[in-house]
């Protein structure tokens, strides 16, 4: 489904640029969220580059392997990292139709994220430590609770295009519909909830806590150290950015380049950075005003996400067809 004639080699260049963009910008976005959060909480920010400093510091350190680990424990961090890097090829954000468009299906993407999460939980349980087990099973609980909502959001968004392929979704938005549809607005709200759950942010999980008993995502990483930990954390940063990019594609695609002219690519890039800038600040705001939910309140939270996404889905037929 070639919507726009592409020059294959140039398209691949853009795709590689996308990957580099995700790999190298993800820590900066993390840093930006940290900066805004620190400012909102009357603290002195550690700076945009702090996540980068952390990654470089961890990469220089030695790896200490816990007793009783298997190969799973060693393989998962690079796997996780490369799944995330690979996923960046599937989400069009610099241009509408990357060369991997035929497989750039949102359901594939959800599947990839699930695979990454499963691998992480399995590695956490590999050692049989109580915290790894606890983190693994909590993560899987959150995952299976958010997944229905994720798919519902996807279906709502694809109602316009009749396809879950991201390029065609993007294309359908450019066909003259008004940018604000009630169904998409509601689906966007659901997406925010899913985003917070999937990326272990407040109010589902507290990424900055030291209390091992309360952790979800971090509990899975407790036994990792050095470069392996760096890969895991770097991968999580990429995942956060990828989710934001997906959300931008679905709900705020304005400005994305439809051709390959340098000017439109540049405009698209600037628009994208602006959106990430705003969204990062929004995440920091949410994280500053909400307390963490009690763990057994998470089903209520994800049920709300599912309810909203279903509502969006139905609204499409009531108001928009």
């Amino acid at each position: 489904m070639a919507l726009i004639p592409t020059f294959p080699s140039f398209g691949w260049t853009i795709s590689l640029l996308q990957m580099l963009f995700v790999i190298f910008l993800a820590p900066l976005l993390y840093g930006w969220i940290g900066v805004v959060r620190a400012i909102l909480q009357n603290r002195r920010p550690a700076g945009l580059l702090q996540p980068w400093r952390n990654i470089l510091r961890l990469l220089r350190k030695e790896t200490i392997l816990p007793e009783g680990h298997s190969y799973l424990f060693l393989f998962v961090p690079p796997l996780f990292f490369f799944i995330m890097a690979g996923a960046s090829l599937l989400i069009p954000f610099l241009m509408v139709s990357p060369p991997l468009a035929p497989v750039a299906d949102a359901v594939t993407l959800v599947g990839l994220f699930s695979l990454a999460r499963f691998a992480m939980a399995a590695a956490a349980m590999d050692l049989g430590t109580p915290f790894g087990d606890m983190g693994g099973r909590r993560e899987m609980m959150v995952a299976f609770l958010t997944e229905p909502a994720t798919l519902m959001i996807l279906f709502t968004v694809s109602l316009w295009s009749g396809s879950t392929a991201i390029p065609s979704i993007l294309h359908s938005f450019s066909l003259g519909h008004s940018p604000f549809h009630p169904s998409l607005l509601i689906a966007a709200m659901a997406f925010i909830l899913v985003f917070l759950g999937e990326n272990a942010r407040l109010p589902i999980d507290n990424p900055s806590t030291h209390l091992e008993l309360t952790m979800i995502h971090e509990a899975m990483l407790l036994e990792y150290s050095g470069p392996l930990l760096a890969l895991m954390e770097w991968g999580s940063m990429q995942k956060l950015l990828l989710y934001l990019l997906l959300g931008i594609d679905f709900f705020a695609p304005l400005g994305i380049s439809r051709g390959l002219s340098p000017l439109s690519l540049l405009v698209g890039l600037v628009a994208l950075l602006g959106k990430l800038f705003v969204l990062g600040a929004g995440i920091a705001l949410i994280e500053s005003i909400f307390a963490k939910l009690r763990i057994f309140r998470i089903p209520e939270f994800t049920a709300l996400a599912y309810l909203l996404s279903t509502l969006g889905f139905l609204l499409h037929f009531v108001l928009e067809v």
């Binding site: 959060r37 909102l40 909480q41 009357n42 603290r43 109580p130 915290f131 606890m134 407040l202 109010p203 507290n206 900055s208 806590t209 030291h210 209390l211 091992e212 008993l213 309360t214 994280e287 500053s288 005003i289 909400f290 307390a291 963490k292 939910l293 009690r294 763990i295 057994f296 309140r297």
Partner: protein, 509 residues
Amino acid sequence: MEGNNFSPETGFDSFHGAIPHATLSFDSPERYRGEAHFLAHSGARLLALWADSPSSIRASLILREGVVLLSLSLPKDSLSFPSLSSIFPTAGRFERTIADLFGLLPEGLTDLRPWSDHGLWLVPPLAEGRPSLHQPFAPEDYPFVRVRGEGVHEIPVGPVHAGIIEPGHFRFSVVGEKVLRLETRMGYVHKGIDSLFRGRTLFEGARLASRISGDSAVATSLAFSKAVEEALNIEVSEGIRFVRALLLERERIANHIGDLGALGNDAGLGVALSLFGPLRERMHRHNLTHFGHRLLFDTIVPGGVSTFLSPQMVDALLQETDDLLSEVSLLERIYSDHGGLQDRFQNTGILSPEIAIRLGIGGVAGRASGQGWDLRIDHREDPVHRFSPALALDHVGDVAARVRIRFFEIFESLHLVHALLTNFPGPDICSTLPDIPLSREGLGIVEGFRGEVLGWVRIRPGKTIESAHIAEGSPLLWHALEASVPGNLVADFPLINKSFNPSYSGSDL
């Protein structure tokens, strides 16, 4: 035995420091147990139980009317002492500590696992060469109580924790996320405080007393100083009493503010820490400029205080009090209006009034569970009683109740500080400490920020300490924590723990 029992109406013989107390000495284990039993039925709570030598067991009980110290003398060759654990459930760990230190067997105690001994002591360190029933064991072999059943597993936490806090081990038995049982294991910061006191001068003793648990420096050193003053039979002047009351309230306010910020942070509201933290830090800095130490170490000495309160300082502290009053009021509104925070606090970690009574919990935790004990209110101690602070009392016993109690006490203490400062009679000189011809004992008790802090001392001629003990109240709070966690989610434990905030150092001694 009937008729000889202690009577709260007539039995108190010492009124030093305005809180009545009495020491009852026993030679017979039966009389000792009988008296404890009788007092328990009169509503007494156990504060602490310790041995000041292999032949002398002490149990301090608190009644509404005052403090009773039961003192049991054992025969020289005795290898055991009677246990009070069937009367006071919290006595067990105190008695296990005695067993570890002195090699004495607590008779009637079913739980004879070691407590302070982590398998590193070849002989009981204070047994003084007598034969003992001590059995060496490997440190990793501590037999936690097992919960059996389908799907039950254990989560060991500590003694090294992820945050920078004190060491202690928690063993959770859980099904899924639900805690069935929590057992604590302490003793990692056993310092041998009682032995460190021996042979020291009174001022060295006061220095040590203020370092037992850093957050309660004023309370512990004040309890010690009051005990010394009773033993030496001296009264301190009005100005000194004012400064002491002021320092005690400042310590309470700073700790409550710190705890409230940490509670919000543990519930995931990071901004709470950066709102409460600076208030506490500002108090610490003022403590440093005005009183010479951020945590008020060594400000209280036997016979007086080591600081001075000038009119300029009074003005500065009044200003600070006014600022804190408005700032904490604002923060209280934020906390009570924050739905997410209240959802985490409410119905979490409930310590029911019945269990609070059974365990004899006082202080903040007790007052949040319907136990209206507060030495500042129950007794006519000058100068605090002149300004009649109100009792903070709640009946729910959950984390939210303990948060409310802390806020209430901050406001009461701020009003009290304000009253103390405006009525300050002017600085007074410290009393000189006279020597005594014979060894004498003294007892002091103070309402610290967690609860009652008890100091006991025996001084010998030459003004050196023959024996001393400080009980800070935290051992009881660990029991309260263990009682309130089962039924909650594992992930809520840090919040419940913080709402009690027991001291590790203060309970290990």
